[in-house]
């Protein structure tokens, strides 16, 4: 499996990123090397093994429904590049 420059451009657009043509080439190469590694993993025989998204033998870690206010509220707001009163402020999204 391999990705093309067009696919890299598409994924970049979805992430609101844009690259120079040279970077697009370089990233396509890097991504393909990662995919080659996946191809190697795919050579393993996983017949009869349940797919999973992580390796911990744990399930159902539920939290009780209790409010536990964060002590970091002010710090989080202070870290915003821009704010107005207690709002996070970003360039206008729709016109």
């Amino acid at each position: 499996m391999a990705v093309t420059v067009e696919e890299v451009r598409g994924v970049a657009a979805l992430a609101r990123l844009s690259f120079s043509p040279a970077d697009e080439e370089r990233l396509t190469g890097e991504l393909n090397r990662i995919l080659q590694y996946m191809d190697r993993l795919n050579e393993l025989d996983t017949e009869g093994v349940e797919p999973t998204s992580h390796v911990l033998p744990l399930a159902n870690a539920f939290r009780p429904d209790e409010v536990d206010p964060s002590p970091a509220v002010a710090d989080i707001l202070a870290a915003a590049p821009q704010r107005q009163e207690s709002y996070f402020k970003v360039p206008r999204i729709i016109d």
Binding site: T52, S53, L58, E66, D68, S70, A72, F88, V90, R92
Partner: protein, 476 residues
């Protein structure tokens, strides 16, 4: 040509949990100062890890069970990737391929009687932050980001705006009965989208569907569907083709408008959320949730019909709110209570007051016992209907005992023949014309004289007795 309307609905319901879906922030966000309920998890600080709110899982499973769904023990949270500032992570955690609940149904009322609407799935996700656009900036409040949000998706078996309306009402009733959500559309706790298409009557093929968003009230649901169906018919009749687009309902103008299509295709690149552990619900967990289900609206309606012999219209009003239904039952089960007259008062006078004054039955000063006592006073002839209304007003405003109110206000019905005879004689003497008319056979005029006697006795006369006495004295 005649057309058939085909509708599928997606309803988002905000769960009434204390805390958010994946963090301990308070879930409350309505009229709360912006960004006061935020933390590293719901603002996507690097390294912060989410943990599932167990209660949100239970409430969603309860809703699924109430909608006759199967609970999927192994359900999976996935990342729905998109970049928009309403969620700071760059993705929304939602359930995609393996939702918590699947394959259920809701019974609604259609033109042809009861009808089942298929519920394809009920899944859990997180709500997004609120955006406000001002001048050249957009302002973001993340208090709502990460609040548990349940999505209920139907199949395409809804056939009219009225059916959609009834479906939505049934869903709201269920989530309210379960205590899963306030179901309050005005406050955004319930939000709705409809997929609408039309096809020639008798056809098996589906037409091109249009998705209508922004349905933020029951009225909007009915009006938007009616409008969109009309619009699609017109397009087809003019020889055109309905295009597959997303529309927004413009409440003020009463029209659907095409929403600007996103520049890039909707490619959400779903994949399992690696920050959460697996969910494998045990049978015990599912059974425990099942035992928590209260009596549901449909079952209550059936029981009210069977036990109390009420008509469908009264039942519909009584069961709308579980607290009202409980109030009715407490009164109806009192010894000596007549369920039908209790129902009349609850659906009549009490409902009018609740609506006019926008109060909850829980805050009513009239206890079910006091209501029953009041009805007994009427039944025994101690007071008449006029006085009963006056006593009720006093009870509603101040509470207390009906008998004591009758006593202090001197509302006891006069059923003493000699006392009433005197009043009747006086009234007849004062109204000779009316008396003549009655003698001539115009019996409607009896009502007029009765009114005069009521005035004379300050509303306390026993009306039946007065009627008899008038007829007796005039020999008709």
């Amino acid at each position: 040509m005649r057309y058939e309307t085909v509708i599928g609905m997606e309803v988002h319901v905000e769960l009434q949990t204390a805390s958010k879906m994946f963090c301990g922030c308070a879930a409350d966000h309505f009229q709360v100062e912006a960004n006061t309920h935020i933390c590293p998890v719901c603002t996507a600080q690097p390294g912060a890890l989410p943990v599932i709110n167990g209660r949100a899982m239970e409430l969603t499973a309860m809703t699924g069970l109430a909608l006759h769904c199967q609970i999927r023990p192994h359900n999976v949270f996935a990342r729905k990737n998109y970049l928009y500032p309403d969620l700071p992570k760059g993705y929304q955690v939602s359930q995609y391929e393996l939702p918590l609940c699947e394959d259920g149904w809701v019974e609604i009322t259609s033109e042809d009687g009861p009808k089942k609407i298929g519920v394809e799935r009920v899944h859990l996700e997180e709500d997004t932050g609120k955006l406000q656009h001002t001048g050249r900036a957009s302002l973001i409040d993340y208090n709502r980001a990460g609040v548990p949000l349940m999505e209920i998706v139907t199949d395409a078996s809804i056939r009219s705006a009225d059916e959609a309306f009834d479906y939505l009402n049934k869903i709201r009733q269920v989530v309210r009965y379960l205590g899963a959500s306030s179901g309050d559309m005005e406050k955004g706790a319930m939000r709705c989208e409809a997929n609408i298409s039309i096809r020639p009557e008798g056809s098996d093929e589906f037409g091109t569907k249009v998705e209508v968003k922004n349905l933020n009230s029951f009225r909007a649901v009915r009006n938007a569907i009616a409008y969109e169906v009309e619009r699609q018919q017109q397009v087809i009749e003019e020889g055109g083709q309905v295009r597959q687009v997303t529309m927004g309902w413009d409440e003020q103008m009463g029209v659907t408008r095409e929403q600007r299509s996103k520049e890039t295709s909707e490619d959400y690149r779903y994949f399992p959320e690696p920050d959460l552990l697996d969910v494998h619900l045990e049978v015990e967990w599912i059974n425990r949730v099942g035992r928590e289900l209260p009596e549901l609206p449909a079952d209550k309606a059936a029981r009210f019909s069977e036990i109390y012999g009420l008509n469908q219209k009264d039942i519909a009003v009584l069961i709308e709110d579980a607290a009202v239904a409980a109030y009715f039952e407490e009164a109806a089960q009192h010894s000596g209570a007549d369920p039908k007259s209790v129902a009349n008062w609850v659906t009549g006078e009490i409902f009018r007051r609740l609506n006019d004054e926008d109060v909850l039955i829980a805050d009513a000063k009239v206890s079910p016992a006091a209501l029953v006592e009041l009805l007994a006073l009427v039944k025994d002839g101690a007071i008449n209907q006029n006085a009963a209304r006056e006593v009720f007003t006093e009870l509603w405003e101040k509470g207390g005992s009906p008998a004591a109110i009758v006593e202090t206000k001197g509302l006891k019905q006069i059923s003493d023949t000699s006392e009433l005879d005197e009043a009747v004689a006086k009234v007849i003497e004062a109204n000779p014309d009316a008396a003549e008319k009655i003698k001539d056979g115009n019996l409607k005029t009896v009502q007029f004289l009765m009114g005069q006697v009521m005035k004379e006795t300050r509303g306390k006369a026993n009306p039946q007795l007065v009627q008899e006495l008038i007829k007796k004295q005039l020999r008709v």
